[in-house]
């Protein structure tokens, strides 16, 4: 399986600021995903990021709040913009199994964000 790293691993931010989270994978993958896990809750898909196209956002998430970049097949960033305390969550990236038709995702360690 792919090895995925995220930076930063955790951060404490002031409301109104923005934070960019990086996701790096050690092999080329077509599909990358960003999830949010609010405190004590399950994971919710924010968006799917394919290289060479605009990210596809899920209902309830918008590009102005969560802009995503996918400049190549091994890297993606998620920005949390104009943060409020409600954005305090763990943000995780994942990648699809490079083998065809596996429908399996592998997850990074997550970024723990606290907004004051």
């Amino acid at each position: 399986s792919a090895v995925i790293s995220q930076k930063p691993s955790r951060d404490i931010c002031q409301r109104g600021t923005s934070l960019t989270i990086q996701c790096q994978v050690d092999s080329q993958v077509t599909m990358m995903f960003w999830y949010r896990q609010q405190p004590g809750q399950s994971l919710t898909l924010i968006a799917t990021a394919n290289q060479g196209s605009e990210a596809t956002y899920e209902s309830g998430f918008v590009i102005d709040k969560f802009p995503i970049s996918r400049p190549n097949l091994t890297f993606s960033t998620l920005t949390v913009s104009n943060m409020s305390p409600e954005d305090s969550s763990i943000y995780l990236c994942s990648v699809e199994d490079a083998r065809a038709y596996q429908e399996t995702q592998y997850f990074g360690p997550g970024t723990r964000l606290l907004v004051l």
């Binding site: 399986s1 995925i4 599909m31 995903f33 809750q41 399950s42 994971l43 919710t44 898909l45 799917t48 995780l92 994942s94 699809e96 596996q102 429908e103 399996t104 995702q105 592998y106 997850f107 990074g108 360690p109 997550g110």
Partner: protein, 111 residues
């Protein structure tokens, strides 16, 4: 529409006794189903997956799950719990890479 329901938010077992974590799914399509474990302060680790091959799926660390279409269930089991199994477990249904997570089951293992 696809959905997944984990029937227990918390499960406690004694070390050495069997583990059963329950998951029911709803899907209009032939689903792919997964179990992940989330250890504290770590990402999610894939335990096992069902993708329309054998209905009894064996995973890592002695876990297995059985796909029962008639019951729309995909329960996770382990014959003998170990202290290191204490974690949060998520059942996931996927249709064309869209992952829908269950609400999670926190497993506690008592010494």
């Amino acid at each position: 529409a696809q959905s997944v329901t984990q029937l227990d938010s918390h499960v406690s077992v004694s070390e050495g006794t069997p583990v059963l974590l329950r998951c029911n799914y709803s899907s209009s399509y032939s689903p792919s189903l997964f179990w992940y474990v989330q250890h504290p302060n770590k990402g999610l680790q894939l335990l096992l997956k069902y993708t329309s091959a054998a209905t009894l799926v064996k995973g890592i660390n002695g876990f297995e799950a059985e796909f029962k279409k008639s019951e729309t269930s995909f329960h996770l089991t382990k014959p003998s719990a170990h202290m290191s199994d204490a974690s949060e477990y998520f059942c996931v249904v996927s249709v064309y890479y869209k992952y829908i997570f269950g609400t999670g089951t926190r497993l506690k293992v008592l010494a």
